[in-house]
């Protein structure tokens, strides 16, 4: 099945309200999947012979809180990029969640590749994937606080290992800005 | 050794009244001489190895330091002696300190029965070959001690691997030497060399008998394995175990391991030459008609020449082959080398009976 619109209507007919908006204006069009239906839709996308999206390319966690004025502004989002290997068809869909309740069902057993991508999204954006077998920080050290790819993230003042072996002052003013200030003086 | 002692007593009659003391001092001096010789040989070998490695890898190797880079090993030795000697906190301190000396002891003691020339041998034991086989495995005790005492899992794996490796490879190496002993009719290393007298290469042990020819390769492979050379350098496999048993060692103690390793390369080559390739038997026989004293020197040269070629072979193998895996290592030993060695032994027996 070719074309995002065909796939969209096909899925819409199958799942109805489970499929949200379709963004055709975007350079790579995408549609929304409601998080309640994510697992059914994902299984369907993978197993349906017409669709057959067996290959998960990536999951991007996005914080839409400072985006332009759209419906989903202020929400967190997981973007799933899929391939169909036989004809290299690409598909993007998104799952939006409120910032206060950032829980998305995990799809790690549907696409095994999702296991680490979900951990990364949890680490950097803070989306919690329900049912994930091992949801820990992956890139940052386990004692790290905060999720750096959130738009309102502030770098901590110092970094210290839990045993106190290493303590480093992390905060340092922006060199460009500092120069400007000293120039003004 | 005994000759030297008798000669001393004869030349200096005043020493006759202090025979024990003389013997003791002589022991010490000779011991130090052997140590120095071992150190120089091992040091030169490190230079040789680096040079060979560099040429194989289209590099230059050490050239800047002087004498064409030859004194590189002196600099390395000075550096290692001056380094801080770290003994980590949780190690078994006694074993940790002792291990390098054990490792070197194994290498150093084998020099005792190594016939450099017809007259130049420290002790012509009548069980020389047996002694060599026994003593050369002391090294593994050192390695095992180091691995155990280091309180480091990588070291421990290295030590255990080494133990398993040597226990296995002792068998084929001993079995591969037996045909030679049978042929020579003696366990003395000098006798083995004397049994290979002749003016050309085909009097050497290796060419006297097709079975011994195969035995040579069994011996050579087993010795490579016993001395932890690539492709069998599993105890210190750099890419797997960081540096294996010597991971925690620094400074002088590491230098001892280093020394032991390179002494072993020399020992391995020297014994391969002694047992199979004619030892000090002069190259081209004595057809060159050289005067009396030069004969000994020619023999000495022949021995070192052949040994150098063997060393070169060992080093070339080291720098071209990848490493085997531990189960393959064991498989090679028990499935191939041991049966072949037995076959050779019986083959030689039949050959001699017929």
């Amino acid at each position: 099945m070719e074309g995002i619109e065909n796939i969209y209507t096909y899925l819409k007919g199958k799942f109805g309200e489970g499929i949200g908006i379709l963004d055709k204006e975007s350079r790579d069009p995408w549609f929304e999947v409601k998080r309640e239906n994510l697992r059914e839709v994902a299984t369907f996308l993978r197993d349906d012979p017409e669709l057959g999206f067996t290959y998960l390319v990536a999951i991007t966690g996005v914080d839409y809180s400072k985006f332009v004025d759209v419906d989903y502004k202020g929400k967190l989002c997981a973007t799933y990029i899929l391939y169909r290997l036989r004809d290299s068809h690409q598909l993007i869909f998104k799952v939006f969640v409120e910032k206060e309740d950032p829980v998305i069902p995990s799809v790690w057993d549907i696409w095994r590749a999702a296991e680490w991508h979900e951990r990364e999204a949890f680490d950097l954006v803070g989306i919690k994937f329900e049912g994930h077998p091992d949801l820990r920080r992956i890139l940052l050290p386990p004692e790290w606080e905060g999720h750096p790819l959130l738009k309102d993230y502030k770098e901590p003042e110092e970094y210290r290992t839990p045993d106190g072996y290493l303590v480093v002052k992390t905060h340092r003013p922006d060199p460009l800005r500092e120069n400007n200030e000293s120039d003004q003086k | 050794m005994l000759q030297l002692f008798n000669w001393l007593i004869k030349t200096f009659p005043s020493l006759a009244s202090h025979q024990e003391l003389t013997a003791f001092v002589l022991f010490i001096i000779l011991g130090l001489l052997v140590l120095t010789f071992a150190a120089v040989v091992a040091g030169s070998l490190t230079y040789f190895e680096r040079k060979v490695a560099a040429r194989i890898q289209s590099r230059m190797g050490p050239i800047e330091i002087g004498l064409g880079g030859y004194i590189q090993w002196v600099a390395d030795a000075i550096k290692l002696l001056l380094k801080e000697d770290i003994i980590p906190e949780n190690v078994d301190k006694i074993l940790f300190r002792l291990a390098p000396y054990f490792a070197f002891l194994g290498a150093g003691l084998t020099y005792l029965v190594l016939p450099f020339s017809e007259k130049l041998i420290l002790a012509d034991l009548n069980v020389g070959v047996l002694y060599f086989l026994a003593v050369s495995s002391i090294t593994v005790i050192g390695i095992l001690m180091a691995g155990w005492a280091s309180y480091n899992k990588w070291s421990l794996i290295g030590g255990i691997r080494s133990a398993a490796q040597i226990v296995s490879y002792e068998i084929p190496s001993a079995l591969a030497v037996l045909p030679v002993v049978l042929y020579a009719g003696s366990l003395s290393t000098q006798d083995v060399v004397r049994a290979q007298a002749g003016w050309a290469g085909f009097h050497w042990m290796i060419f006297q008998n097709p079975f011994i020819f195969i035995s040579f390769f069994v011996f050579f492979i087993s010795m490579l394995a016993e001395n932890n050379r690539i492709p069998f350098d599993l105890p210190e496999a750099e890419s797997e175990l960081v540096a294996g048993y010597n991971t925690e060692y620094s400074g002088m103690r590491f230098a001892m391991f280093f020394l032991a390793e390179y002494s072993n390369v020399f020992i391995l080559s020297a014994f391969a030459v002694t047992l199979f390739l004619g030892g000090w038997q002069p190259l081209f026989g004595l057809s060159l008609k050289i005067p009396g004293t030069a004969v000994d020197l020619w023999k000495l040269f022949s021995f070192f020449f052949k040994t150098s070629i063997m060393v070169f072979l060992v080093l070339t193998i080291r720098w071209t082959l990848p490493r085997v895996r531990i189960d393959q290592l064991m498989g090679l030993c028990w499935k191939y080398l041991v049966p072949i060695a037995f076959f050779d032994l019986f083959g030689v027996m039949f050959w001699m009976v017929l």
Binding site: - | R59, E84, T247
Partner: protein, 179 residues
Amino acid sequence: MAGRYKEGVENIPIEQIADALFPEVILTTVDDFLNWGRSWSVWYLLFATACCGIELMQFGGPRTDADRIGSVFRATPRQADLMIVAGTITYKMASRVKLLYEQMAEPKYVISMGACANCGGPFWYSYSVLRGIDKVIPVDFYIAGCPPRPEALLQGVIEVQKKIKKEKYLRAKKSEAGG
């Protein structure tokens, strides 16, 4: 230099003291000899984290050939004299860098290779990158570049050699022992 003079005798030129004190001369000569040995055998720790690591490998490769000046790599910090920190160090890695440095045996030297190790380089703005390894370990030489060429690293090692040759190994030992 400060350690060579006793209180109140600063005015005497160094040559006179050396002439007067025979052992000093011997010490100096021995020192020179020891430093010669140490400087020609600088073994470096293979510690490559990022881009500079590739140039560190090239440094040991056929064109630059670190072995020429007696430098070979060691995998374990215990046997290394020189730690070449090649690449970005993150906070997660920083404690390991410190640990590795502490595991090295004295005397030890550190070269900070490339912009990232010097000051964070292009990752200055990052939330997770240590802005210069001198925040956690002492550094002897900094090599600029992103990444530096292997030749620059070779020059760095030669500078380490020069530094070693100027050191007073025995004197340092004596002064330590004396208190």
